[in-house]
Symmetry: C2
Subunit: 265 residues, 2 copies
């Protein structure tokens, strides 16, 4: 395969790439996703994704490994300055892929899951996806109002975790009624301490909006509420920090070989 | 006290404020810190900080609580659009304080601490500060190369934790020799699993650069290396997520009433 060299800043494809890179929700309309940098591209390839487009900077193109230059349906090479113009990063990468947005999978009722209830910050969402993948929570259920999962910022913070997870986006709260795993929430005021609690496995951990927390309806639906004790006395943890603590605790409980009985739903 | 109304975009003080707000390291040269938004300002006041300057938007000024309008040495009111121009936030706040940069405290050798070894991302550093404050790690030791602790971005992510912590910045690695608490590190490859490990309390958790981890010299200095098991098989956790898990584990160990013997240094 050979590459197409694009030199005009006004090229229609470059405009399209800029939109995908800089507008966090453009992928929904376009059906394509911008993956910038070696790490994300490698993660996609490792999961068998075939890129629709591979983009290389002029300076990197002669150095690019052959398995990258021949993997995409279309390969383009552009001046470094043009690639910088497309990138939304302070330090733009030297290559990127565009992949087709994976079809949204159906919700699996009995899968170990993380429910994102309007979590706003892309860095938080990406960090939670990494923790979920690390601790064996394979399904992410993003309720409406959560940061767009396939946005470049979430992808970047997710460091490739997207490709190891079942990502169910744009979910209405009512759809959670289908879940057969118990929903677990954290609360700073009620419930027993996390380390004293028998955690059901599999379960669905619900994580909420940075300011408002988990919504009342989802709180009411939870089978279990646990407290993360904060002896330092400060107000609250970052939501991704709380997620890491909870998901790790579940993984430790599961690995202890003593699966706990799930509470009654 | 009365307020000074500033209407010119070219006012020297406004230019100064813009620098403090938009340049993450400007505070080092200027000796003053930009605190934007109710939450951070409230956290500073709660710890007895007297602001040097209080800044209000024209529209918020008539609604501002009297204890805020009279607390600063100097109070200024500016057009909303000017305050938006100073702010680096997508949703600019309606008020801000400027405070004098606290003098860097001396390192306390036996305090429960978190060592930041060139952690780059402001959101990660802020999240780690919140977790440290929540779990009783009162001293932060930021080695040279770590994101500037009093930058607006770290302050924002820290959500007020700065004012509950002893923040020792710009520390040379050699200065860690003064520590009498054991240094604990995480490793994905060596050491026993976190939950199987007796954690020394107090201790100093070392957290490293997002890409490179903890440097070799600090690794070699550590008394204990623990693993966070990741049964999901994904590569690694976000550093702030790992920090939350470790600091929480220490707090739980300390609260269990069975202080473990510190390993020999």
């Amino acid at each position: 395969m050979s590459a197409i060299h694009i030199t005009s800043r006004d090229n229609a494809l470059l405009k399209e790439l800029r939109r995908l890179s800089q507008d966090g929700t453009a992928y929904r309309k376009r059906g394509q996703v911008w993956l910038e940098g070696d790490h994300l591209c490698r993660a996609a390839l490792a999961r068998g994704v075939q890129p629709a487009i591979a983009v290389f900077s002029e300076s990197f193109w002669p150095l690019a490994p052959v398995q990258w230059t021949q993997v995409a349906i279309k390969t383009i090479v552009i001046a470094d300055v043009l690639l910088s113009g497309i990138s939304a990063l302070e330090s733009p990468a030297r290559m990127a892929f565009v992949i087709d947005l994976p079809a949204t999978p159906a919700l699996v009722p009995d899968a170990a899951s993380v429910i994102l209830d309007r979590v706003q910050d892309a860095g938080n969402v990406g960090s939670i996806l990494r923790s979920a993948a690390a601790f064996g929570f394979g399904q992410i259920i993003a309720l409406k109002g959560t940061a767009a999962l396939w946005s470049p910022k979430v992808l970047r913070a997710g460091m490739g975790a997207h490709f190891a997870l079942r990502l169910v986006e744009g979910v209405e709260p009512d759809a959670l009624d289908a879940l057969t795993v118990p929903v677990v929430v954290t609360s700073s005021h009620t419930g027993s301490a996390l380390q004293e609690q028998k955690l059901p496995m599999p379960c669905a951990w619900a994580l909420g909006h940075e300011g408002q927390g988990v919504g009342a309806a989802l709180m009411a639906r939870a089978s279990l509420s646990v407290r993360i004790e904060q002896p330092g006395g400060e107000e609250s943890l970052n939501v991704a920090a709380a997620a890491a603590i909870c998901l790790h605790a579940s993984a430790v409980a599961a690995a202890s070989g003593q699966p706990h009985a799930a509470p009654q739903l």
